[in-house]
Symmetry: C2
Subunit: 454 residues, 2 copies
């Protein structure tokens, strides 16, 4: 156990009710300095982060920013209910976040805004000397990827990409298996984002999910901004939920790197089909005339410097069960796992030629973080992942050290978007990854993911 | 029921013992002419075909050829045991099969020889006017693919690629679902050959599977010839078990075609690891010094004319459970299926957002062929597939009509090998497929797979 930590409660605490029960709050030894955190963007995602931060005694929420006054009001209410002091509020215009960044009482910022704002806000935050957390995916273009890296290197400010799936319990258990050498030398990975987002991309302008086929100006929440990317870009615009965990297992930017990729898109028929068959849509609905650019299933294959391949799937416009479709394969065995099916085969351990259920492996290789914080975390959102990603952010920021998933990771993972776009536009032509570490990947040491503090 | 058919027995008949029980023989109405079949290559695979043919009253086995006298002797014994007349035998040298092809009492030939002999034997057979069946994969190079097509077009002789997986019960049921529109417009497919072949690629020179780490001159059976391809070629050398079924569902060469592919290979570590860790191998074994060219996992993505993508996996050098890894995905739903896990999701049918088990769908969509012949077929090898592929061959040959999987399919499916090799050698550069139909794919009609005769 790390001596810097202490729990008022280490048991109980489950269910979302937890988020508003300050008596279960996450506590620190008194000697530790508090981190002053501001949140830029308190839509659904930012609000989730805010609620998790509210539970921590080592965090003051000193400012929040959103251009939607309703979101500000809603979050002020939560903060009050948690018995915490009211933060300063910003959002009178798109650039009011810059006034937030001038506050001395802000050490760290959490950016949960539409994709097109991620890099400009991250750059401004780093330049203002703030420890910066940015939601996924981090960047939209290769220039933006470099902007993140260059700004970090010029300012010395750290940036963490807030990829929560890296903290999923099964993902961290498999990372543990990888580090223990269970699969031997690694050879091949699969991952992706296979999630029917049609009810996210379209709504009725009143509720965030579904109820209509509107987007853009007529939609709200993600439909307001996210769907435009499906209309205009044929690319894997959301690679990190799958790729982040795999990149960590493969020591990307730390003794390994992404070298090149090819990408292929299918035709785009899913969103049109949804619109014309929706009870609020139909063939005569104006959105039925939209020509969607984003292929329904986009397959990207990455080659790494160590000779592995990684297949990433982006599959969000068709009816299907949720799956990130992980596979981790080495010379001694492999696992394929997701929420609804987890299986493993290890030579010499698994009997005969058949798959084993993962259950006993997940217990044996349960990650130290989950052993320690699991019960507490489960109430935090997305099955506990959100607690861990915010915990890593806060603890890294308190020490002002490089985070587990840093600016080079943010750049490399996000680069899949523009590189896949270019490959697709050129008939699957291979695209080289920039080396965002400027060659330093050969000497950078793997981050120690196996500790139990964060 | 097709009137040309009659069963002495339609029930019972299960288990491999069936193969040598002539009283259960597959019978035809007396009026039908018999097909005179010769087998070139009666190793393990050819012997399986021969045993299935022995059960048919509409087939005479008039000649067999193998350069290994032991295989000839073994099969003559089976034929005698089945109460059938002895065929002529060939194999005194590598080209003795040409003397077989001169026989007037041979209507059709089944070629089950090492890959490097497939095309030269197929060409000779077609030129000799024989109805030709060739095992998978059919061809090794693009020139060989064209050779098959050109020879067919010059001679008018038909060629069938003997892809048994096209007749797997679940594959044909899914084909039925596809034809019934269950998945709507098709978008994406996955398939592959994921089969730990290490004990096939290496043996002790005495038994066909395992027991040592020898191959080439010192190995027997497939280890004698197949393993050399792993040593020298970095390509998907065995694409058809996965691709055949998918190509049929996607109407390839019949209103659709493969347009281009990219391919990526991982490093090659599996076979070396196997050799050095085998009790008969070790670091000092001469084969431990071999530098294997074939990457352990090879991923190929094909784009089709109709805008679908197909991912093919070749994964045969690592420890893993057997899986062909099928996915068939359309705008209304998808299925992922294999022997050990079959699941389906159909919008509007499957409740909530979860997968359903396939069982009830497999019953509902059971293919007419399996309904009719299933009980009989199950004893034929590979779970019944081998009966159906040989049945289709015999029935097509008896009528001298184009087979379900014809020379254009053989060429297009097999072309994945040289095209993947070139893509891998060029950093994943896309490779265009030749159009083996010379443009005729736009007007060729889909083969009627849904009938119940063959």
């Amino acid at each position: 156990m790390n001596s810097r930590r202490d729990f008022i409660r280490t048991t109980t605490a489950a269910g979302t009710g937890l988020l508003f029960m300050p008596e279960l709050a996450f506590s620190r030894n008194a000697g530790k300095e508090k981190l002053n955190v501001a949140l830029i963007g308190v839509g659904l995602r930012g609000t989730n982060h805010l609620n998790n931060l509210l539970l921590r005694d080592d965090v003051n929420i000193t400012a929040i920013c959103d251009t939607d006054p309703e979101r500000i009001a809603l979050n002020l209410k939560s903060i009050k209910k948690a018995g915490k002091p009211a933060p300063k509020t910003f959002g009178k215009d798109d650039y009011d976040y810059r006034n937030l960044l001038e506050l001395k009482e802000v050490d760290a910022v959490v950016i949960s805004t539409p994709w097109l704002w991620h890099v400009r806000m991250s750059k401004d935050a780093m330049r203002a000397g703030k420890y910066t957390g940015v939601e996924v995916s981090a960047a939209n273009t290769l220039t933006e990827c470099w902007d993140l890296v260059n700004t970090h290197e010029e300012t010395g400010s750290h940036l963490m990409i807030l990829e929560n799936v890296n903290y999923r319990r099964d993902v961290l258990a498999v990372l543990n298996m990888v580090k223990e050498g269970l699969f031997g030398e690694l050879v091949h990975f699969r991952c992706g984002y296979q999630h029917d987002l049609r009810h996210v991309k379209f709504n009725d302008g009143k509720q965030p999910y579904g109820g209509g086929v509107e987007y853009g100006e007529k939609g709200i929440s993600e439909a307001r901004w996210r769907t435009k990317h499906s209309e205009l870009r044929n690319a894997d615009v959301y690679p990190t939920h799958g790729l982040g965990p795999v990149a960590t297992m493969a020591d990307i930017n730390r003794g390994n790197r992404f070298v090149s990729l090819t990408s292929h898109a299918t035709k785009a028929v899913g969103l049109h089909d949804y619109i014309v068959n929706h009870e609020k849509g139909g063939k005569d609905h104006p959105n039925a005339a939209i020509k969607w650019k984003q292929g329904d299933v986009i397959t990207t294959t990455i080659e790494t410097a160590k000779g592995e391949t990684i297949i990433i799937t982006h599959d969000v416009n068709l009816p299907r069960p949720y799956s990130l479709g992980f596979r981790v394969q080495g010379v001694k065995g492999l696992t394929e796992f997701d929420y609804d099916n987890r299986r493993i085969f290890v030579e010499g351990k698994s009997e005969g030629h058949g798959w084993e259920k993962m259950d006993s492996y997940l217990e044996t290789y349960d990650h130290p973080l989950w052993k320690k914080f699991g019960t507490y975390a489960e109430g935090s959102g997305h099955g506990g992942m959100d607690f861990f990603v915010m915990n890593a952010f806060v603890e890294s920021a308190k020490q002002n050290i490089a985070p587990p998933m840093d600016v080079y990771d943010a750049a490399a993972w996000s680069a899949v978007t523009p590189l896949s776009e270019r490959s697709i536009a050129n008939n699957g032509e291979p695209q080289d990854f920039p080396d965002f570490t400027r060659g330093n990947w050969v000497k950078r040491k793997p981050y120690n993911w196996m500790k139990d503090d964060f």
